[in-house]
Symmetry: C2
Subunit: 270 residues, 2 copies
């Protein structure tokens, strides 16, 4: 890991309150992948958090992103944007936002996770509901941290999280999809969860393939019994799912087609 | 403001995910007030976040707190404890937690707020429910940040926040109490809100005064029509409330007695 910014002051509102956003994106052949979509999500997140887009020097930010991607070659970039500094208290002070860029290596993961599928832990930690924070990749991630702390087994790739009503929403670091016949579905994110950039790519690719792509409430039993189940994020691209908790899940052909379509923009083993 | 720790690395999990806790406490005559209660709450918070108390050098932390309080004289200390560092991803790595101490001056606020009461904004931003995070003063404070961003009027002292069912819970930076006859009540915090140190002091003092002190669900209309309403935190001690949104609220004698009882441990104007 290379840290472009060496540190932040303790007055940073990201540090004090999690008042900010982040993006994690794949770097391949020296390029930040799907950057326009990541930038759009940061912009949407800033609006939702009522932060001004004008308080960022976007040309400087983009120049840094592309320069660091070129220096990294293959791996990842993490961009963190915070509400800047304030002395104390929840009230923001006017002024520039802070952004930092952190370079990362390609994480070492078994190639068979992409071929044969991954095991998911079924998390006990639930996602609270708040439409004011839903969908964006903000810095308040204690629910994901507590969920991730539920397992130590290195053979488990991620954990499936449910909302307070017991409906599956997403994994700690990935979005969830089920395939049934000609239909690809993923849970809606009106009250919790993160609207992943790769999630958007999958919905787009599914429609281009002539499939029906929907966002809808899905019951846990529907996930278990689906024709195919897979999870996505910007670094891994897509993993088929072969097991959730102690229940086997089907891996199938639609998942493999979608994996090939997103492989150029993610860190998929060659 | 004096910053004891000049900054934190961007690998800090407080900065990355809000993975940590904080305390804000009054400093009077060079002493950190109610320190044992604040330390107990940090310990409870660490347990609830599944962080090890052994990963903190408590004698060094306490020595710093008392030294900084002595240097400050009158004002505040903010203690932030985070889950330490990790490169990327929600999984924690073994190792020491990080703690930083930040000194603050006495905030300039009108003395009549303590005498005649304060106005509260009625917040639109709701508190999400998650028992895993409820009660502790963790670093995921975006709901409070968004609520605080709802008003700019300097004559408004704080904002009253409700849960997703519309039940009043607390203010952005203070706990809520209502008085009716011989009974002092404050909302329960099983699913959201912060269990304030001053809240605990008030409940204790009310019982010592021979009153009934209860934690219970309170409807907004019950707050508006209560004999007395007040809010508390460790810095201000206690403010009577004279208005919530556009509704006047009663200020009364029980509030004044409780204010006198907590004044020695908070920054109440002389």
């Amino acid at each position: 890991m290379v840290v472009v910014s060496q540190g932040v002051p303790v007055t940073d509102r990201g540090f004090q309150f999690g008042d900010g956003l982040f993006e994690t994106l794949a770097v391949k052949q020296g390029m930040p992948r799907l950057w326009p979509a990541h930038r759009r999500r940061i912009e949407q997140g800033l609006r939702q958090l009522r932060l001004s887009l004008k308080q960022i020097d976007w040309p400087a930010l983009e120049e840094t992103m592309f320069a660091e991607a070129a220096a990294q070659g293959e791996g990842s970039l993490k961009l963190v944007v915070t509400a800047g500094d304030s002395a104390r208290g929840y009230a923001r002070t006017a002024g520039a936002l802070r952004w930092v860029v952190i370079r990362g290596e390609v994480a070492a993961r078994p190639a068979e996770w992409w071929r044969n599928g991954v095991q998911l832990h079924l998390c006990e930690t639930r996602l609270g509901s708040n439409s004011a924070l839903a969908g964006i990749k903000h810095l308040n991630r204690l629910e994901q941290v507590l969920a991730r702390a539920e397992w130590n087994d290195q053979t488990i790739a991620d954990g499936l999280m449910m909302d307070s009503h017991g409906h599956p929403v997403c994994c700690t670091m990935a979005n969830l999809f089920v395939v049934n016949g000609n239909q690809v579905s993923t849970p809606g994110l009106a009250t919790c969860g993160v609207r992943g950039v790769m999630r958007g790519q999958i919905l787009m690719h599914a429609e281009l393939l002539g499939m029906t792509a929907t966002e809808e409430q899905i019951q846990l039993e529907q996930v278990i019994t689906a024709d195919e189940v897979f999870v996505t994020n910007s670094l891994i691209g897509l993993w088929p799912v072969c097991r959730i908790g102690d229940r086997p899940v089907s891996v199938g052909p639609v998942t493999q087609i979608l994996l090939e379509l997103v492989a150029t923009d993610a860190l998929v083993p060659g």
